[in-house]
């Protein structure tokens, strides 16, 4: 497009549009910035009035997030001077660190279940998408649409029979159970998106490979897979983000060993109610990877969101 094109907005229009968008972006970032700031506040700074923007940063929130603490007598505290910087922080409240909190485990659960279900969704999804794209499968379109429509059900509605089923099978509160569940939820969208990407790969490449003596399998993983890599990657990100953020199933079906971070973070209790700096610290650790991912992979991601939506 030449710069003299009539459709090119004037500089003044650009400047005006840019200013408004940037103002909106900055306002919309305030809650997220506030989460990150609160993570570095002391409990008294966090609940001060008026809200403090400038404060003395402390890692108290992070220490509280990762540890459990107990109050001790002055004699005990005098007899055992603090060994590490984090113990020193805790000493200000006459406490000692009793052990690690459950946050690490919960975070690890999120990682295991998120990546496990993403891997499974993509593995099964790519195979099926290829089959749906290249072979004649009876009632393929109806099947896909029906499967997609089950996503219209509120998660709680699906959770009732899953809860009963998992109780029977011994899958309640297990990693495997959650991985299978998230895969089952994600796979319909994954197949749908991936089929779109595979449909775009010209058939001629495979035909050439088949004529060259490749088997179907070889043609699939040597020709089709590399071509679909971008599509597979962006679909994987969607699956991962869904599993990472999911709350309803997690809160209903897990309580201990397989509990993920989203149901755990809101329950971090300090002295006298929620420990907001620790909650904010947990939220920061949990949200930051997704934010960084989004910014780094923005090209694929933004295209994927609209692509997936517009295709339906």
């Amino acid at each position: 497009m030449s710069s003299f094109s009539v459709t090119e907005p004037s500089n003044r229009a650009k400047w005006f549009a840019g200013t408004l968008v940037i103002v909106y972006a900055l306002v919309t970032m305030v809650p997220l910035a506030w989460i990150m700031l609160t993570g570095f506040k002391s409990p008294s700074d966090a609940i001060s009035y008026p809200p403090k923007v400038l404060f003395e940063p402390t890692l108290e929130g992070y220490v509280n997030l990762f540890t459990t603490r107990t109050r001790q007598t002055p004699e005990f505290l005098d007899a055992n001077p603090p060994q590490t910087w984090y113990e020193e922080i805790v000493r200000e409240y006459d406490m000692v660190i009793a052990g690690p909190s459950k946050f690490g485990e919960r975070f690890l659960n999120s990682v295991i279940i998120g990546f496990g279900s993403t891997f499974l969704s993509i593995f099964l999804g790519t195979l099926s998408a290829y089959a749906f794209s290249r072979f004649k499968i009876p009632f393929a379109d109806d099947l896909l649409f029906f499967i997609l429509s089950t996503r219209m059900m509120p998660p709680i509605a699906v959770a009732i029979p899953i809860f009963l089923m998992y109780r029977q099978l011994g899958l309640s509160d297990t990693h495997l159970g959650m991985i299978l569940l998230y895969t089952g939820v994600n796979i319909s969208l994954a197949v749908w998106l991936l089929k779109g990407f595979i449909d775009e790969i010209p058939l001629e490449y495979e035909e050439a490979a088949l004529i060259d003596g490749y088997t179907r399998f070889q043609a699939f993983y040597k020709v089709v897979l590399p071509q679909a890599a971008t599509g597979i990657a962006s679909t994987a990100i969607f699956c991962l983000i869904f599993a990472w953020n999911e709350y309803a199933f997690a809160v209903l079906l897990t309580s201990g060993t397989a509990q993920t971070a989203p149901p755990f973070i809101p329950t971090i209790i300090g002295v006298g109610g929620l420990d907001w700096p620790a909650v904010a610290a947990g939220a920061t650790i949990f949200l930051l990877p997704v934010m960084i991912f989004t910014i780094l992979l923005r090209k694929h991601l933004l295209r994927g969101i609209t692509f997936g939506a517009v295709r339906k």
Binding site: V6, T7, K14, F16, G18, L20, V21, T28, P31, L32, W34, I47, Y49, P51, L124, G125, L127, A131, S133, F135, M152, M153, P154, P155, I156, A157, V158, I160, P161, I162, L164, L180, T183, G184, S188, D199, L203, E206, L210, I211, T215, R216, F217, Y247, A248, P262, I265, P266, A280, L287, V290, M291, T294, I295, R298, L302, I305, T306, A309, K312
Partner: protein, 314 residues
């Protein structure tokens, strides 16, 4: 695609070569590739749905170990005549209407502005998109902190600009404000989604249409209403459909923010369903409720898709 590549390959290949194409038949491969997915979908999606339908005709309680009785349509009858459930439906409708209203207005405006292609627009777009990528439960929980009467940032900012005392109102605790508190957070979170879809719509309009309008000396305002709006409308309607379905299911964000309170002013159907199923353990009743919700969404969505297709054809 009517032919399979192998069939086409076979057609252009001499028989002697075709015979050399080794490996399993296409049909076998198709089933090997699709089989596990179908199995998983049957196990996680279809089978539970069937089970829910079955349970909805019983008085089963998941926390009791007693004989289950078939009670026919009594669950359905009870739900449809329960006035409390209609209140939940009203709360849901309020939430749906206003979130979609604000998200469409703000989302379209933002997309329109971003489409002016100012310098650095893709970076700012990404920043605007951030809230929708995050965990609604974790973010919703933190908004509860922002909404605190005395110490919350939200109340402070409102107080700063309106001169009201920040401790004089409770966004989450007051019957007249709580429904708006969830609308605000949902709008904050999901406006970017509507924006992105609108942006895709705006970018799909070819330049030559505007150029032709310019040649015809159509005013900018006229161009906006006769070209931009109608061309973006199908995209916008699609965005509304997705937001509608998603917000009808809304659970995590609102549960963390208000938990359905105060009283039941923000008790959306999903939250109510959770109470019936996992707090009162009326499994049969909740199953019937779930089916009614599913049929409602499915029905409304089908009607809507028909309307959408009409708009697309125009």
């Amino acid at each position: 695609m009517s032919e399979t590549p192998a069939a086409r390959a076979a057609a252009v290949t001499p028989p002697s070569v075709a015979r050399k194409i080794r490996g399993l038949s296409d049909r076998a491969i198709a089933w090997i590739f699709v089989g596990p997915t179908i199995f998983l979908l049957l196990a996680i999606n279809i089978f539970p749905l069937m089970w829910t339908i079955r349970l909805s005709f019983t008085d089963f309680k998941a926390n009791r170990n007693r004989e289950v009785e078939w009670i026919g349509l009594r669950n359905y009858q009870r739900i449809l005549t329960d006035s409390d459930i209609w209140l939940n439906m009203q709360a849901t409708a309020h939430f749906l209407f206003w979130t979609i209203f604000f998200q469409v207005v703000i989302g379209f405006a933002l997309a329109y502005l971003i489409n002016k292609k100012f310098k650095g627009n893709d970076l700012w777009t990404t920043i605007i998109v951030l809230p929708m990528m995050l965990s609604p439960a974790v973010v919703g929980n933190f908004w509860k902190f922002l909404y605190q009467p005395q110490i919350g940032l939200f109340n402070y900012v409102i107080g700063f600009f309106t001169g009201k005392d920040p401790s004089s109102f409770e966004m989450l605790g007051q019957v007249n404000l709580a429904p708006w508190s969830i609308v605000i957070v949902d709008t904050w979170m999901w406006t970017p989604f509507v924006m992105l879809i609108c942006l895709a719509g705006l970018r799909s309009i070819p330049d030559y249409i505007y150029e032709a309008a310019e040649v015809d000396r159509a005013s900018k305002l006229r161009q906006f209403f006769t070209i931009t709006v109608p061309m973006v409308l199908p995209f916008l309607m699609l965005a509304v459909l997705f937001r509608g379905i998603e917000n009808f299911k809304m659970f995590d964000l609102v549960v963390q923010l208000t938990g359905g309170g105060p009283g039941s002013t923000t008790e959306l159907t999903s939250i109510n369903l959770k109470r019936e199923a996992f707090e009162k353990w009326r499994t049969g009743y909740a199953s019937a409720y779930a089916i009614i919700l599913f049929v409602t969404v499915f029905g409304l969505a089908s009607i809507y898709v028909k309307a959408l297709n009409k708009v697309k054809e125009r």
